[in-house]
């Protein structure tokens, strides 16, 4: 059934279709409609418990407690809320709990702002959470359903990100899958470990130097396994629902001389721009990175090694270095044959929700074609000087 809905409501439908059993959340703009819709969708539904807790820290902690009992759990947050959760994000991943969370990307204060950039979620890079970045409301809904399946298989939590306002509050047509089809794709959650009074265990107690290292090794192994699980889940999803997803999406990359790399909703603008350039005979392509963790090293190498130039567009910054996707892409390209390393340009734009317009993209493409290699690690675009 197709409906025209905002991104936040696409989240709510995805969560209900996934038969989530415990939801705990705290309000923050621009995430609030997710939970408002959920309260409406799950009122009178005894199979769901929705805890309206007093902070994001408690929202994640309650998800951890609930997930430990062996039920499917979800929360939604943004920006400052995600930052407040930081401690328990590590706990959720370390305890190997398949919690799924939505983060509506919003820039961090100070100063206060409400608009989108990715510094909130990318600051959580090393917590052990999978991170997905979505381009459309359809992808948001589809990714939630897949995220539960992936997380439950590898026992690591998933964070699904959508750009604040650009997706969260923009209405788009979304195909809402049939419940029975989702049920078949994502069966009832069967936990591998859970709290059970008939089989008592202690979870998360002090692990000394003889154990901790291996526990972390296992997390990395799970992340690595996650790559093939994400690929397979995306293919299986296509068989039922007709839409395919992977770690990345290549758009007109096969013969592209310049490949633009980005994530999130900027990919939607790029897609149109690529078509426009193609009409003029310019060999431009786009690589959309959908999963930031696990990072798609193999895909990035395979796609980018054929390009003559690469331009990474970041709506984020690691202060004191450069754009974060830019760093990751460069790092992925380094340990391979030197002849397969095209020059990589790093553009930072759109921080704090400033529009990334076609003019911005023209500037990025012009800059890349005019220079044989980048003169610095950051090329600012759309900055008022």
């Amino acid at each position: 059934m197709k409906k025209v809905i905002i991104g936040n409501h696409a989240v709510s439908y995805g969560v209900m279709l996934s038969r989530t059993q415990v939801i705990a959340a705290y309000p923050i703009t621009p995430q609030t409609e997710v939970v408002e819709k959920l309260t409406e969708l799950c009122s009178n539904n005894k199979k769901v418990k929705l805890l309206k807790v007093e902070s994001e820290h408690s929202a994640m902690a309650a998800c951890i407690g609930a997930s430990m009992t062996g039920v499917r759990t979800f929360t939604a947050t943004s920006s400052q809320g995600l930052a407040l959760m930081h401690e328990v994000l590590h706990w959720a991943a370390g305890a190997r709990l398949p919690i799924v969370m939505i983060n509506v990307n919003r820039a961090m204060a100070a100063p206060w702002t409400l608009w989108a950039d990715q510094n909130d979620s990318l600051s959580q890079r090393d917590t052990g959470w999978l991170q997905f970045y979505c381009e459309s409301n359809q992808e948001v809904l589809d990714t939630i359903i897949q995220a539960f399946k992936i997380s439950e298989e590898i026992l690591l939590p998933s964070m699904v990100c959508l750009d604040g306002f650009f997706l969260s509050h923009t209405s788009e047509p979304v195909d809402i899958p049939l419940k029975k089809e989702v049920d078949a794709f994502l069966p009832k959650y069967k936990p591998k470990y859970q709290i059970d009074t008939d089989d008592p265990h202690a979870f998360g107690g002090v692990a000394g130097v003889d154990y901790y290292f291996e526990i972390r090794y296992q997390m990395q192994e799970a992340m690595e396994k996650g790559k093939s699980v994400i690929r397979k889940t995306g293919k299986d999803f296509k068989k039922v629902f007709g839409r395919e997803y992977g770690l990345v999406e290549e758009y007109r990359c096969a013969d592209a001389e310049t490949i633009l790399v980005t994530s999130g909703m900027i990919a939607g603008t790029l897609r149109v721009m690529v078509d426009e350039y193609r009409k003029k005979g310019k060999k431009i392509g786009m690589l959309k990175i959908r999963t930031f963790r696990p990072f798609p090293v193999e895909e990035v190498r395979r796609v980018l090694k054929k390009a003559k130039k690469v331009a990474v567009i970041d709506r984020n910054i690691s202060f004191g270095h450069s754009g974060i996707f830019f760093q990751e892409v460069k790092a992925a390209m380094y340990n391979q044959d030197r002849s397969k390393r095209p020059p990589i340009f790093g553009f930072i734009t759109g921080l704090g929700g400033r529009d990334v317009t076609p003019d911005i993209i023209y500037e990025i493409i012009d800059h890349t074609s005019l220079h044989s290699e980048p003169k610095s690690d950051i090329i600012w675009v759309g900055l008022k000087k």
């Binding site: 415990v22 705990a24 769901v48 407690g65």
Partner: protein
């Protein structure tokens, strides 16, 4: 009085508490009442190590270790997860120290109490951050030495009145208890077990390491805390019905303070001040208990 307590034990023989620690007794009595169908959410506290380091556990019930501020919030989630699966007969217990209750865990506790989560929250109170090496908390009494309140500049604020604060959330049950009075503790825990909603306990557990007294005096110290009225035994139902469980004659506070190294530096004037505060607070409690009309 013959006390009906199960012979069943829910702790194994071994644990890693300091000699003279009374926190294990508190756990032992509580679990004897709550029994096998109990799940524990435990934020950072002395018990995080007393429970045993991986792969050991000193408890025969499921235990989930969690982050310092998250004792009550994790318990809320455990209860929700159990409920949604129809497992209604499981007692969800948060077991936290005074730091994890009075300070860093207070927001989550207040939130859970306001929502009237169906959990039992026990704060075993040893009046400072003992696991990290005796730093003051907001449960540390006025005048006490700790590693961060040296005797030249001892704790300068009165202890936070946690049971009053919890009672002000109008939760069904809030009570104090003490390891020197197991019959009182067990009776109250039995009463709480039959109720639903948020039930809060503050159990005083003297700490020979942090309070600086000889380890064989632990239970005596707990008894004296009650006898001097510095730690009254009472319970509060629905935030309004205060009942004092024991009215001691009132041993001078000096007798209690002089056995503890943490109070060794106090002057006669300081001790008089503490005595005055104890008397005043007791009178306040008595008036709360007598003012209640059903």
């Amino acid at each position: 009085m013959k006390l009906k307590v199960t012979k069943e034990e829910y702790m194994y023989q071994g644990h890693t508490a300091c000699p003279g620690c009374t926190a294990p007794q508190a756990m032992r009595y509580v679990l004897k009442v709550l029994g096998k169908k109990t799940v524990i959410s435990m934020p950072a506290c002395c018990w995080s190590t007393i429970a045993g380091i991986f792969p050991y556990s000193s408890l025969k019930v499921p235990l989930f270790h969690t982050a310092f501020p998250a004792g009550a919030s994790v318990a809320s989630g455990i209860k929700a997860g159990m409920d949604v699966q129809g497992k209604k007969d499981v007692n969800v217990l948060t077991w936290a120290g005074d730091g994890g209750t009075f300070d860093i865990g207070f927001q989550a506790l207040s939130g859970a109490a306001e929502r009237n989560e169906d959990i039992i929250y026990v704060c075993y109170d040893n009046e400072a951050y003992m696991n990290t090496g005796i730093q003051r908390s907001s449960a540390t009494p006025w005048g006490a030495w700790t590693a961060v309140t040296p005797k030249e500049n001892p704790e300068g604020n009165p202890k936070k009145d946690i049971v009053y604060i919890m009672a002000a959330h109008r939760i069904p049950y809030a009570a104090t208890a003490c390891v020197a009075y197991p019959e009182d503790l067990i009776r109250k825990m039995k009463k709480a077990k039959k109720m639903s909603g948020t039930r809060f306990f503050q159990i005083l557990v003297p700490c020979s390491t942090g309070w600086k007294f000889s380890s064989e005096l632990s239970i005596k110290m707990a008894r004296m805390a009650v006898e001097t009225k510095i730690f009254p035994l009472y319970e509060v139902e629905n935030g309004v019905k205060y009942t004092i469980n024991k009215t001691p004659k009132g041993l001078p506070i000096k007798e209690y303070l002089k056995l503890q190294g943490r109070f060794k530096h106090l002057s006669e004037k300081d001790i008089k001040f503490i005595q005055m505060r104890v008397n005043k607070e007791w009178d306040d409690l008595v008036s709360r208990a007598s003012n209640y009309t059903a």
